[in-house]
Symmetry: C2
Subunit: 222 residues, 2 copies
């Protein structure tokens, strides 16, 4: 059983990492299309989402099989449950990347918004959170996972700043409200993605330590 579990786990970890790579690329393409004003990149987001969804179903099925065949307990069980949850968060991030791409497509039909919103920085921070939360998962590195949790505030601040710039802009440029609204919704999507990366980091901590850091409690299960 031990060796079979290790082999399945190795395969699951590889699948999660590959899915995470697709998510990172989807975020990158969806936001880069905005600054490059390149619709072609948006088509790639949809292709990436298809790959993300395929991995999602594959990973979920493998986890179900592992639980049914090997009945893992303790740390091994926590790890499989963490993978099931991480899988869900990555899939939802794929949905959010598609939402960004719809808003970006709508934005590119309109006149440019003339104030600068640091969406590239937000996009970069979110991608780093995805990468590092998954590195933390791969290496069972709770220090890195904790560090990822702390970075959520930086993304929230950038989103708040985007609102502070865009709302007055909308008041002064009512004819360009739709384009500004697109950017505002994209900032919100990116913030939501950072929340998902935070959830992943919490799941990594739970898988490694059995400690529940959600909802601000330090609850330990046996």
């Amino acid at each position: 059983m031990e060796r079979r579990f290790e082999a399945e786990l190795k395969q699951l970890k590889a699948s999660i990492l590959s899915m995470g790579g697709f998510v990172e690329q989807a975020i990158e393409k969806a936001t880069h299309a905005l600054t490059a004003r390149d619709r072609k990149e948006l088509e790639l987001v949809h292709a990436l989402e298809t790959k993300i969804n395929e991995k999602h179903i594959e990973i979920d099925n493998t986890c179900l099989e592992v639980l049914a065949r090997l009945s893992p307990v303790a740390a091994d069980l926590r790890l499989i449950l963490a993978i099931i949850k991480i899988n869900t968060d990555l899939e939802r991030m794929g949905d959010q990347a598609v939402n960004v791409s719809y808003n970006a497509e709508h934005y590119l039909e309109d006149r440019e918004v003339t104030v600068r919103i640091d969406l590239p920085k937000m996009s970069e921070l979110v991608r780093e959170m995805v990468r590092d939360s998954l590195d933390a998962f791969l290496n069972e590195d709770t220090v890195l996972a904790q560090e990822v949790l702390g970075r959520d505030d930086a993304v929230d601040e950038l989103k708040n700043k985007a609102f502070e710039i865009l709302v007055p802009y909308m008041k002064q440029n009512p004819n360009n409200i739709e384009a500004a609204l697109d950017l505002l919704l994209i900032a919100r999507n990116l913030e939501r993605m950072a929340d998902h990366a935070t959830n992943i980091a919490e799941d990594v901590i739970f898988a490694c330590t059995g400690e529940d850091v959600r909802h601000g409690v330090g609850h330990t299960t046996s």
Copy 2:
């Protein structure tokens, strides 16, 4: 084993239903506060979210224990995995209700938006989706679960309609942009909640039939 599993399952189902009740109330309070212009109701949303978070941790721990002690397989295993996922979706709906309450609080500080947005209808539809998806779960009723899936479009339509009314309103009333934006974001939060209810309905179908109806595929696992 059989009888112990049945007892645990009964307890878990009761907990999920009680959590769903809190979620429904949170949605109701957060949206009713808007039409009643009553801040007091918004405080209740935070109290409800605390209860939702407590249930979330309790249910997750019970599922972990059941998997570790009883190693369920086949339909029983699918049911436990469905509970873990439903639990996550309900908890995220609680977060969304809190987001609605923040936007509602901000809205109530401003002048009223003079166009009518049917947020009460959206709120009602979403609460029905939560109630029916959980009824479907309780009674293992895949027909009702399928029916819930079909209702997502009605919520999307109401959200689109809200945008179609609010964007021109913002253009004509640039001084009331912030209040209109609050309503627009609330419409989006409600749409997101409907997505979570849809996820729950999908999980019910998977638990009952082993059939994966996510991502538009009909994939069956053994």
